[in-house]
Symmetry: C2
Subunit: 358 residues, 2 copies
């Protein structure tokens, strides 16, 4: 088995080391070939490790970083002012080739700004995107949606690039050939939608390399027809977060329905195993770990509020992307599509002039 | 009690007269002062009425219209080519003052285009919006969101006008003074969001007449903090439809969890009353009836797939707006705010030149 080394920003997220350290230990126990580098305040991390059983593991090292990016900090300020933050140092480790990926539950804006600044985008890619996996009603097939918030007011060219990246990722990770790509819109008719969406539809329809299926509306994204749903980051972020809001709302309704009186509570007690299965299937933690795609390196973003098993899932997402060599595959595909030189083929390959879409 | 007269586009929606006629009869039985005008093919409607018990009602009349706008028809074609459609005739009845409002479950784009063309916007309002009521986790307080799809790429001025209209509607219908207005965005920090959203935030913060509370994210809109959530129609439509998609998904998960084997089915049988209450609280039909706001007249849009009780709710929404005199109240408020002459005050009041925001 090939050795895997992944850096973990141990200070990020709403809970920091108290969630991230046990998550790291959990994943290490599962993968024999995995090495994790916990990046953060050495003293705090050592104490956190000491308080845990079975925490001496030769495949776990601490890399000291003196600063921490706060969850509500301005990305620009974090980028300029916190050059020794756990987030920045973890990304630097990717850049320097010391690790193959990094995972952070920290401030999304700061993570994206720093990752983009340090790692740079792939040749031919104007803007990175945030992509994540979503469940569908089919129970088997998942769906990927991008962008989930890295960009606002995305151009048609950017949306087209998101479609390419989403397709490559789906083929590489799930082995689906010619994944079905849909464009999120507010109506299926050609007349609807804004200008960028209409223009993107043209680009996608004309591309032989994308299996473009047409428009999709918000109520259809979870149906299981789509493998990849493409949208602007503002729209995608609203769709993602609204979904989270509705799911929480529904959970509360279920709880309330079974807590109305002693009779319903008794029924709830009997229904406990069913409700437990239900809660498990509804748990968003099993999909935790969004990928910052389009960069010259693998950066996985965990939900800030992730608990141990959810953060562990984000680390596993990083493992998959390392094993599947995602950035190289995207770079190769984009290179073929846009006639730019992929990474690793030419020293001047990250010259943005070579992208005909620029 | 004041006499109420409302026109119903009896041919619209996925189910047409078979749903709309019984819904009309249901609402008529509830309101003694209500008169309904069913607009559509006379023969079809008479046959539909004959097949129903207790369908002879002196407060129900049929107004013949020879055409029908199809659900997937181009709005522009419907507007130009179907001047005797049930939809167009129902809106004409509003314009001519024969009825006080109209309700349709037909093609949203065609309904909006026709309503805007026939009725015109209120003085000071550039674009009408689609607004609807949403439940919140509080179980008591509702929330209104606009625009839900009438406009894409809304300007800051339009978004500001949506905020005014949403506030007036909430005060008039729910009696909430200074309703809390939020702006949908992808982050609470001032740095996030697109240009229009940032500009709108400035306009709202500077307005003394709007109780502007700041940005809100998708996962927070159902929490019950906001009375009014303002967004562009593309974003709002995605949020609305994604919510519908997630709710359906959750319902399916619940059903599956109780149908896994004979044991869970037995528990489901015991839990039946609880699950029934739950289904009732989850039913989107109880919120059916979106308002086309900002027009010189009341137009209520029902979900195309609405069943009888949901369509009946849309008619009741029209009744509330007539009783509260919504267009006049919005016009008065906008007049105060933008120094334009409200409707009914001046014959030249719909001169767009008078709107300082134009």
């Amino acid at each position: 088995m090939k050795k895997l080394t992944i850096a973990v920003d141990a200070m990020g997220g709403d809970f920091g080391p108290s969630v991230i350290v046990p998550a790291a230990l959990q994943v290490l126990a599962k993968y024999d070939n995995l090495h994790l580098v916990l990046v953060g305040n050495q003293e705090i991390l050592q104490n956190e490790l000491k308080s845990r059983p079975n925490s001496t593991n030769s495949r776990l090292t601490i890399h000291h970083a003196s600063q921490r990016v706060e969850m509500n900090e301005s990305p620009a300020l974090a980028l300029r002012g916190k050059k020794d933050s756990s987030m920045r140092v973890a990304i630097n480790l990717v850049k320097e080739g010391n690790v193959q990926a990094c995972v952070s539950a920290g401030n999304t804006g700061a993570l994206m700004a720093t990752a983009r600044f340090v790692l740079k985008t792939l040749p031919g890619i104007d803007r990175p995107a945030i992509v994540s996996t979503f469940p569908t009603v089919t129970g088997k097939k998942n769906m990927r949606m991008l962008d989930l918030g890295a960009n606002v007011d995305s151009s048609a060219e950017s949306l087209f690039q998101f479609a390419v990246m989403g397709s490559v990722l789906t083929t590489a990770v799930d082995g689906i050939e010619n994944p079905k790509v849909y464009l999120l819109n507010i109506g299926e008719e050609d007349i609807k939608g804004n200008e960028q969406v209409k223009e993107t539809a043209q680009l996608l329809a004309n591309s032989k390399m994308i299996n473009y299926m047409g428009y999709i509306e918000g109520d259809e994204i979870y149906r299981g027809d789509a493998d990849v749903v493409v949208c602007d980051g503002f729209v995608g972020n609203v769709a993602l977060k609204t979904s989270e809001g509705v799911a929480l709302f529904m959970k509360k309704l279920i709880k309330e329905a079974f807590h109305r009186n002693w009779m319903t509570k008794l029924v709830g007690l009997l229904a406990f195993p069913v409700l437990k299965t239900l809660a498990k299937r509804m748990d968003p933690g099993q999909y935790n770990g969004a990928s910052f795609i389009g960069l010259q390196g693998i950066v996985i973003k965990s939900h800030g509020g992730a608990k141990t098993s959810a953060f562990a899932h984000a680390i596993e997402e990083a493992i998959v992307e390392v094993e599947k060599n995602i950035p190289q595959r995207i770079s190769d595909e984009v290179g073929r599509l846009l006639q730019v030189t992929p990474i690793g083929k030419d020293k001047t390959s990250d010259d943005p002039q070579k992208n005909p879409l620029n």
